[in-house]
Symmetry: C2
Subunit: 366 residues, 2 copies
DNA sequence: CTGTTAGCGCGTTCAT
DNA sequence: ATGAACGCGCTAACAG
């Protein structure tokens, strides 16, 4: 180590001397037990701390209490857009509570996640937030689970985010309900024939959207085959390809639903390139906030998934569990349908106009 | 506090007893001073630690040494896509070095950033990584700077990431060089009339791209007005609007360059919607990895900005500075031109074909 | 209500 | 090459 660290930070002893009290009293005032101290001395201590610029040494406190004010956050892939919103929510809620967060990118690797957990454990974290699907399953997955249990057994709180987690404490959307929401919107517009584009590989949360969607369609007394299912790779190109394939295979539909926003936007692009007008010919809808709306030329109708609130909820749930029992073990965050310009009334004649499509496609290229 | 924390973690004392040595010896072996211990006893200690499942208490170590193995990372907005890549690089490099990172989202707020710095300081962080532009300028900005100096004065290392930072230790791209790279590519293809779309508000790094671009054009003996400058808001829509405006104002150009990938993609969309063929009529290029390539139907030509390496470099620079002097105080990461399908030879007749455009636009709508 | 005392787990002299 | 002793800054009994 090179630099010589001049000691400049104040300790409670210096504050104690300045205030004419003992270090315990200072500890009480500055460490959360302020109500045990006479208000007169309390003021004196706080004033002294203020003028000295006292700052608590978190390491010392952590050593003494066996707990830090740090929360670990495990993510599969930090590049995920939805995740970024969750992290903002976590950041805001944590900051307001004086908590710092350690971000751990696991790349879906259970072994790496387990190692990260151990490191967080070494740092006496108060809790961990587990975003996305579980690491369960394989050999490393079970060791991950063991590590979690070892930690929770010692009072560390683990909160899962999303519907694909088996954590006892979790915060998530109600994707099945969201599925119903979107279906009802389209049904109310008169649509009766749908194409639903899944993603492959899927996630439990996305499967639930599909289930909810089919639930709602069935609830109107429509046969199950009114919802044609397709799979796409999770990208704009995947969505576009699926949409084009739907056209080419002669499937009958007036509305396309993408399991994610990206898929929906891809479908939009694919259809538009074939000269189909949205929403006059076909309505399109999806889930999740669409920053790609302006790419499409107009706003996509979506069920807005409040990922930010998911993050906030995770921290709040964690803190609640930390001091006592949380009010609920499973927090569900509500979502809201945002009607854009990609959905409209079902066309009067729901049959396909293949020739018109072909012509437009020719002009438009590709 | 509710949960009773059964003490289950091992201390060096238990390892010491199991190995039949003193705690000092264990500390030396497990704390980096292993070479001071006879290899025989060293083995014994390591074996004991292994079987006991010993894990060092980071809080205790931090208290004793006045330093943790934590690095703070300040970001303006965690949703930024480039940033996500940087964070992955930071995560990987840090993990391999046994370092944990604390992520702090500041929302461009100097006061919030300063508060975060103080919190990190309380945690005895080894260093901080400052991404993006400085928080300097306003009143809060100067307090931010003071806080940084206070910390660096105590041996905490601060590393800036990007060209818009004034940190002594920094890692960045050489955006001016990147600007020249792209210009040379287009010049080699025969282009002589360019439109350069800036973003508003701009950043120093982006300004440098523009400067480099103009440098290279001038270096070929072309007059400055061969590069027409436009500004756009930083979005696909902004890029599209700028491109359309260029068309409508009758500017003469065979190649469009966007200061960012998003802008370039937006220009692509705007031109394509007007029926312009890329790259037959107009070439388009930008900087940064384009995940929107598939949205455009083909790959954009870009200078790939290796943001991941920027993150890796930041951590490496930080640890170098931590134990001794870094080899360089300013690390420049190289970028590579990736030629996609959006650039091609300049059209033989560089004049505008306004009528053709109008016709295509009419057919294509919007 | 406040002060005294004793650790928390580890690094680090200083002896040996 | 190893061990004994002390301190890092703070919290948490226990007295008073």
């Amino acid at each position: 180590m090179a630099a010589v660290n001049k000691k400049t930070s104040r300790s409670i002893y210096e504050v104690a001397r300045a205030a004419g009290v003992s270090s315990s009293t200072v500890s009480r005032v500055l460490g959360g037990r302020a109500e045990l101290v006479a208000s007169a001395t309390r003021e004196r201590v706080m004033a002294a701390a203020q003028t000295l610029g006292y700052r608590p040494n978190r390491m010392a406190r952590g050593l003494a209490t066996g707990r830090s004010n740090i929360v670990g956050v495990l993510v599969h892939d930090i590049r995920n857009r939805q995740l970024a919103q969750v992290l903002r929510g976590i950041d805001q809620a944590a900051r307001q509570l004086g908590i710092l967060t350690m971000l751990c990118n696991t790349d879906y690797d259970a072994a790496r996640a387990t190692e990260y957990l151990a490191m967080l454990d070494d740092h006496q974290v108060a809790g961990v937030v587990l975003t996305g699907q579980d690491y369960a399953g394989k050999g490393d997955g079970s060791r991950f689970k063991e590590q979690i249990e070892r930690m929770t057994g010692r009072g560390i709180v683990a909160v899962g985010v999303g519907e694909s987690t088996s954590q006892a404490l979790r915060v998530s959307l109600h994707n099945r309900r969201l599925g119903r929401q979107l279906a009802d919107h389209l049904l109310d517009l008169g649509h009766r024939r749908f194409a639903f584009v899944r993603v492959e590989p899927s996630l439990r949360a996305l499967d639930n959207r599909e289930r909810g969607f089919r639930d709602a369609v069935a609830a109107r007394g429509l046969p199950a085959d009114r919802v044609v299912i397709r799979s796409a790779t999770r990208s704009l190109a995947g969505g576009a390809a699926a949409a084009v394939e739907l056209l080419d295979s002669g499937v009958d539909f007036t509305a396309v639903v993408g399991a994610t926003d990206e898929i929906a936007a891809g479908c939009h692009l694919g259809l538009t390139r074939r000269g189909i007008h949205v929403p006059q010919d076909v309505s399109i809808a999806g889930w999740g906030d669409s920053e790609m709306s302006d790419l499409l030329g107009h706003r996509l109708t979506t069920v807005e998934t409040p990922m930010f609130q998911l993050g906030v909820g995770a921290i709040h749930l964690l803190v609640q569990a930390l001091d006592g029992s949380p009010r609920r073990r499973h927090v569900v965050v509500d979502a809201e349908l945002v009607v854009g310009e990609s959905t409209g009334p079902a066309p009067a004649r729901p049959t396909k106009r293949r020739d018109g499509f072909r012509l437009a496609a020719q002009i438009n290229g590709r």
